[in-house]
């Protein structure tokens, strides 16, 4: 689930970036899309890092992997 969540956050970030470019093209204030794109990208990265950090820890202590 964590994998899919960061993937979706990344997809959302890319969409915001596309809308940021579109806003610039149509001369609309694009700051909201730029900010949202950056924030969701950071959230996606945070989720990716924490998801990949948890797996080796669980392996070390001998727990079965649960990709929930």
């Amino acid at each position: 689930m964590a994998n899919r969540t960061w993937c979706f956050a990344l997809l959302t970030s890319i969409t915001f970036f596309v809308f940021y470019l579109l806003s610039k093209t149509i001369a609309h204030d694009s700051s909201a899309f730029a900010l949202l794109s950056a924030v969701t990208l950071l959230a996606a990265l945070y989720h990716y890092v924490s998801a990949n950090k948890k797996q080796p820890q669980r392996q070390r202590i001998g727990l079965a992997l649960e990709d929930k």
Binding site: W6, T15, F16, I26, H28
Partner: protein, 309 residues
């Protein structure tokens, strides 16, 4: 510069977050939402009387198809990325396929403040878009047509408060002729003031829901902002395809972007009682509504103007 009416929404959020005790009776909230629905319907009926479109049936069918498409797009996203069970995914998809009258009212107010014209029949489209998503959401959730019987159609679709009030007001505005002018000082001229009051309350309600964004929070946050952009882009495409004016393209986009939090929750409570209504209301009211009012509405209005010229 932010629209004065929209600024009241932010004031409502600030009041709630700062802990200010702003007494706002529930009855007043219901009355304001009733006022907005009647005003939108009457305005549409009066305008429709002056400009009847010959191809209104074709346009209405296209809008109905749009209402079917939106939950069909939302459902797989909720199932695959959000990993929601079919019941909750169907219920949330229904919210995002339906429309928010308040978001529509904000868009109309911004369009009128900027003297941007739009097609007269949009209130009819608002009514039409309320219904298909409810049926599609239930079918997706249950995986079959059971539950969509005559009683359900009568009770949840035709006797639905917003559908009945808006459709009735539209008919009164259309058939009452010149006598409807008597109602305009109350319903038309006070529209922006009443909308400001309504948005003040909506800001408080949305801020109250912020604390509920816990379960599946990152996915829900992303979905509730991504879906309005997807729906809005498709609405823009449909508006262009149907050769609407700049205001019409913007309104079609905003109808696609908005998510219901009044009509659909009531229908879902009856048809899908197992669904967690907290998730769908939090997504549509606490995330999508503020996002639409502050970001989508100004963006799609500019995009509509850009594409129409």
């Amino acid at each position: 510069m932010i629209d004065a009416v929209v600024a009241f929404f932010i004031l409502g959020v600030v009041c709630q977050l700062s802990g200010a005790k702003l007494a706002f009776p529930d009855g007043l909230y219901q009355s304001l939402s009733l006022f907005l629905m009647i005003a939108i319907g009457l305005k549409g009926g009066m305008a429709l009387q002056q400009h009847v479109a010959a191809n209104l049936i074709t346009l209405s069918l296209a809008v109905l198809a749009f209402g079917v498409l939106l939950p069909l797009l939302a459902f797989p996203l909720l199932r695959y990325f959000g990993q929601f069970d079919p019941i909750n995914a169907g219920a949330i998809a229904a919210h995002y396929g339906s429309v928010s009258v308040a978001t529509y009212a904000v868009a109309v107010s911004v369009l009128e403040a900027n003297n941007i014209s739009y097609e007269a029949y949009f209130p009819l489209f608002v009514v039409l878009l309320e219904m298909p998503a409810i049926v599609v959401g239930i079918v997706l959730a249950k995986g079959r047509w059971s539950g969509i019987n005559g009683h359900f159609i009568r009770q949840e679709l035709l006797a639905n408060q917003s559908v009945l009030v808006m459709l009735g007001s539209l008919a009164i505005g259309y058939f009452a002729g010149p006598s409807v002018v008597k109602l305009t000082p109350f319903f038309i001229e006070l529209f922006s003031g009443v909308l400001a009051l309504f948005l003040l309350k909506m800001g408080m309600t949305a801020a109250k829901q912020f604390g509920q964004i816990k379960q599946n929070s990152l996915f829900l946050l992303c979905f509730a902002m991504l879906m309005p952009l997807v729906g809005g882009s498709l609405g823009t495409g449909l508006g262009l395809l149907l050769s609407f004016s700049a205001g019409g393209i913007a309104l079609m986009a905003i109808l696609g972007a908005s998510a219901s939090y009044i009509a659909v929750p009531a229908a879902m409570k009856q048809s899908l009682p197992q669904a967690n209504s907290g998730i769908s209301i939090t997504a549509s009211l606490a995330i999508s509504f503020p996002f639409n009012v502050l970001v989508s509405v100004p963006f799609f209005i500019t995009l509509g103007q850009y594409l129409a010229h």
